[in-house]
């Protein structure tokens, strides 16, 4: 698409060959004496201690799961325990090479990585900063609890704080690091660089990629690490993320000085198995995991296979990759081979591997081997390792005893405050925009498209009251564009991406002209990777960025299902309310292109807790709601109807204001007043409902039409007030009726407006079958005549009226056959 890059047939058609890549496999061979000279014996002994802490910590979890008892401490732990016994060197070696301000994003099996990173940060950060971190977390309460329960100070207190906060989180206690809302597979603590772990296999890849985008843009010199298992190489979103992190445009089009890729390290802890499926040889096509980098980019992602049983081999490789990343030569990939000596989980019967195989790997247990190496080098005295192990065990026992004591770690008392978890879903906070123009943004007057926008009439009605053509007046598309442009030009943190959204301006032209004034690193074309588009938006927001991303059609939500449903929707609550996720996801609802390009999936999104959902139907509402979405600290999905992009403003006498304004979420608006029937509309259903109202008015029936505007949140009061006056309630939606938001609204109004209703509420939606092609659409989406039919039949059965629409079907009979 960009005109800067010529697609030259004489180059692309030339006979040539792509040279094979050299991929290093177990290249590490630094003598231990050199390592000791480079790092000092104390730091290597410290690595051993960190591995012992992880081993003991996970042994404790294993004991609770198996026996309900660890060193005479009884506790019933009902949650998951995906242990990494045997894999400690991978985690500790990596953390050793990382900076405290590098950020790791983990997997379901990330206790080791979390502890290793936290312990390494505690060992490296100045004590004053540790004190600040502990004072800042939860107002210093966790620090006080830990210090009272365990009685240490300084760095030892910080280690106790890490172990206590993490274990309390695993046990889902109120003072766990994430308020007990994360647990074993989701715990995190950003001040030590431990960003969210993720229970969805491979999900951290895209999130860490978005986080790396933010780090590149703020140029803070830090990197992000995406932890995943070998099994995650089978996940499409992981491939999408690796490509997203290595796109050609960083080096060839971006002018931000950040180099040719994103500073993210894809760190695959390759233990040769998923749960029971063996990757190399059975479920995957690669023989060596490191080979996959070559499929992504000319750098091959600098991929290597390293020995995950040796912390120094891992540290050496991570340090080298880190140097590449901070000079702009990322991303990188490491295939870190190690072996899970324990089961996948405590119910693992090891049916998929032999006793002999386990034995072979037990012989290279990383902890024992590293202790032997240090002993042989003469820096670890005989018995010193064992003494260290016993000391670690005492400490883990002390921390565990404190955490299972409800005086120190109380459970989350939901009964005392039943909506407590609910309140964590949204912060309901908004940012204020800087008044100055963001750096690097050009003058809108230099863009022909933006000059054209400025020339348009603000109202969509002529003096004679006629509707103006969309070229002459501000449309819904323009309303969105104005709000977005205002935020883009004033808030440097806001970055927008999506498919074809730069020069093309998005498939429907909302961003047209934006590329004339916004640099590539603020607005860019993404690959056709819906999962990565959304996952990166989440990661970018986790790191302090603000993300505006687009799915060309709402029908593609399925391609980003996990990213929308599990990531974007959930992290605010799973962080115990500590994290903000300012992500706006735009999704257009299509028309005319049939079953896979025209579906109203508002019902899918409103079903998922944690997403705010808006669906504007007028230019004025589009501009104001989009501004609120972009200012929101909570994640928002904005649905846009393709049929409405060209709608001009016909409701506001003064049209769409030039100056920015915001419309509060949750407030439905009466678009037409009436005394006899209340019709609530969702999105474009507003217009057929108004047409029906005009027709019914001729018959003496006055309809009040209320435009929902926002679906989540939603204030029912204006609707209930209206129903109290009219006694009749219908709701019109373009979504298939089964499971739709309209059904929820109908049930809610039935319950709370029952006393006033003279008839049951009526949902007028699309039928439960595919959206047909353009010429048949009027038989599918509710038309004015369908609304008139329904109103007459359900609310005025005594009036004689001929049915004119096609919806003369028996709902109950259809339901019986699955329709």
């Amino acid at each position: 698409m960009p005109k800067e890059l010529l697609v030259d047939p004489s180059v692309s058609r030339a006979k040539t060959r792509l040279e094979g890549l050299d991929i290093l496999v177990h290249a590490y061979d630094t003598p231990i004496d050199d390592e000791i000279a480079a790092h000092g014996a104390d730091r290597l002994i410290e690595m051993l201690r960190h591995m012992l802490i992880i081993r003991e910590f996970e042994g404790m979890l294993a004991a609770f799961k198996a026996q309900g008892m660890y060193r005479e401490i009884a506790y019933t732990y009902k949650g998951p325990a995906h242990l990494s016994i045997g894999q400690e060197a991978a985690a500790v070696g990596s953390a050793f090479a990382l900076d405290p301000d590098d950020h790791i994003f983990g997997s379901h099996r990330s206790h080791g990585e979390f502890l290793a990173k936290g312990l390494a940060a505690i060992a490296r950060l100045p004590e004053a900063r540790l004190a600040d971190i502990m004072a800042a977390h939860d107002g210093g309460r966790l620090r006080d609890t830990v210090s009272t329960a365990l009685g240490r100070d300084g760095r030892a207190l910080a280690e106790d704080f890490l172990l206590f906060g993490f274990l309390a989180e695993i046990f889902m206690k109120a003072n766990g690091f994430n308020g007990g809302m994360g647990g074993s597979m989701h715990a995190f603590f950003p001040p030590f660089g431990c960003y969210p772990n993720n229970a969805i296999v491979g999900a951290s890849a895209g999130i860490a990629t978005g986080a790396a985008l933010r780090r590149r843009l703020v140029r803070d010199g830090g990197i992000t690490v995406a932890h995943a298992g070998d099994g995650a190489t089978g996940c499409g979103p992981v491939w999408e993320a690796m490509n997203f992190a290595a796109m050609g445009q960083y080096g060839r089009l971006w002018q931000d000085g950040g180099g040719r890729g994103l500073p993210v390290l894809f760190f695959f802890t390759n233990n040769f198995y998923a749960m029971g499926g063996q990757t190399s040889g059975e479920t995957m096509a690669w023989d060596r995991l490191s080979r996959i980098g070559a499929g992504i980019s000319p750098t091959g992602l600098h991929a290597e296979t390293v020995d995950g049983a040796n912390p120094l081999a891992v540290a050496e490789a991570v340090a080298r990759k880190r140097r590449l990343l901070v000079t702009g030569d990322g991303p990188a990939l490491l295939d870190v081979e190690c072996y899970r000596l324990c089961g996948h989980s405590t119910t693992d019967a090891n049916a998929y591997r032999t006793r002999e195989e386990i034995k072979l790997w037990e012989d290279i247990d990383p902890i024992r081997r590293f202790a032997e190496t240090l002993e042989a080098a003469g820096v670890l005295a005989p018995q010193q390792g064992e003494a260290m192990r016993q000391d670690v065990a005492r400490r883990i026992a002390a921390v565990t005893r404190a955490v299972v004591d409800p005086r120190h770690a109380p459970p989350v008392d939901v009964a005392a405050d039943p909506t407590r978890i609910g309140r964590l879903m949204f912060s309901n906070r908004h940012t204020t925009l800087p008044t100055d123009r963001a750096p690097g943004v050009g003058d809108p007057a230099a863009s022909a498209a933006l000059r054209g926008l400025a020339r348009k009439a603000r109202s969509g009605l002529t003096e004679a009251g006629e509707e103006m053509p969309p070229l002459r007046a501000i449309t819904l598309r323009d309303g969105l564009a104005e709000a977005i442009l205002h935020h883009m030009t004033h808030d440097e943190r806001l970055v927008a991406w999506g498919e074809e959204c730069r020069e093309w301006g998005g498939a429907f032209g909302v961003y047209r002209g934006f590329s004339d004034i916004l640099p590539h690193h603020r607005l860019f074309n993404s690959p056709i990777s819906e999962a990565a588009i959304v996952a990166a938006a989440v990661g970018h927001a986790m790191e302090g960025g603000r993300s505006l991303v687009e799915l060309m059609y709402a029908d593609f939500i399925g391609r980003a299902g996990d990213e929308i449903f599990n990531q974007m929707a959930k992290w605010q609550a799973m962080s115990g309310g500590q994290m903000s996720l300012p992500v706006v996801l735009r999704a257009s609802i299509g028309s005319k292109y049939g079953a896979q390009h025209s579906q109203d999936w508002t019902g899918l999104i409103t079903h998922i807790p944690g997403l705010k959902v808006v669906y504007p139907a007028t230019p004025y509402d589009a501009k104001g709601l989009m501004a609120t979405a972009l200012a929101s600290e909570d994640p928002v999905v904005v649905f846009e109807s393709q049929r409405l992009y060209d709608k001009v403003e016909t409701f506001r006498p003064d049209g769409v204001p030039v100056d920015p304004y915001r419309i509060a979420f949750g407030t439905p608006e009466v678009k037409r007043a009436g005394r006899d029937v209340t019709i609530l509309t969702i999105g474009p259903a507003l217009y057929p409902a108004l047409a029906a109202a005009a027709e019914l008015s001729v018959a003496g029936i006055e309809v009040e039409v209320i435009d929902a505007r926002t679906l989540v949140p939603f204030d029912y009061q204006p609707v209930l007030d209206s129903v109290a006056r009219t006694g009749r309630f219908a709701i019109v939606t373009e979504a298939s009726e089964r499971g739709s938001f309209a059904q929820t609204a109908a049930a809610t109004v039935a319950r709370h407006g029952f006393a006033h209703l003279v008839a049951p509420p009526r949902v007028i939606g699309a039928p439960n079958w595919i959206v047909p092609g353009a010429d048949m659409e009027t038989t599918y989406f509710p038309q004015a005549i369908d609304i008139v039919d329904a109103v007459m039949a359900d609310f005025f059965p005594d009036h004689r009226a001929n049915r004119r629409g096609v919806r003369d079907w028996d709902e109950l009979a259809l339901a019986r056959v699955g329709l």
Binding site: A448, L471, F508
Partner: protein, 75 residues
């Protein structure tokens, strides 16, 4: 003399806006050279000079013209 009209841009499009003249009135233009950008609500396209000669602009930037309207003459 050759005319440069607003082309037919699709079955639902009746008019387009002159977004930008790339060359001023009176300029010598070469056949095939982009001379003007026009937009509909959905897209912007560049129109090329249909012949070489002197450009005579008839519709100014910012004006809206129906499909078929002559935007310029090439003399």
């Amino acid at each position: 003399m050759t005319l440069l009209p607003v082309p037919q841009l699709g079955n639902e499009i009746t008019e387009a806006e002159v977004s930008e003249w790339f060359r001023p009135d009176g300029a010598e233009v070469v056949q095939g050279e982009p001379v003007v950008s026009i937009s509909t609500t959905k897209m912007a396209i560049d129109l090329e000079a249909p012949a070489s000669g002197k450009l005579r602009i008839l519709i100014a930037e910012g004006d809206i013209a129906e499909v078929g309207t002559v935007l310029a003459r090439i003399e």
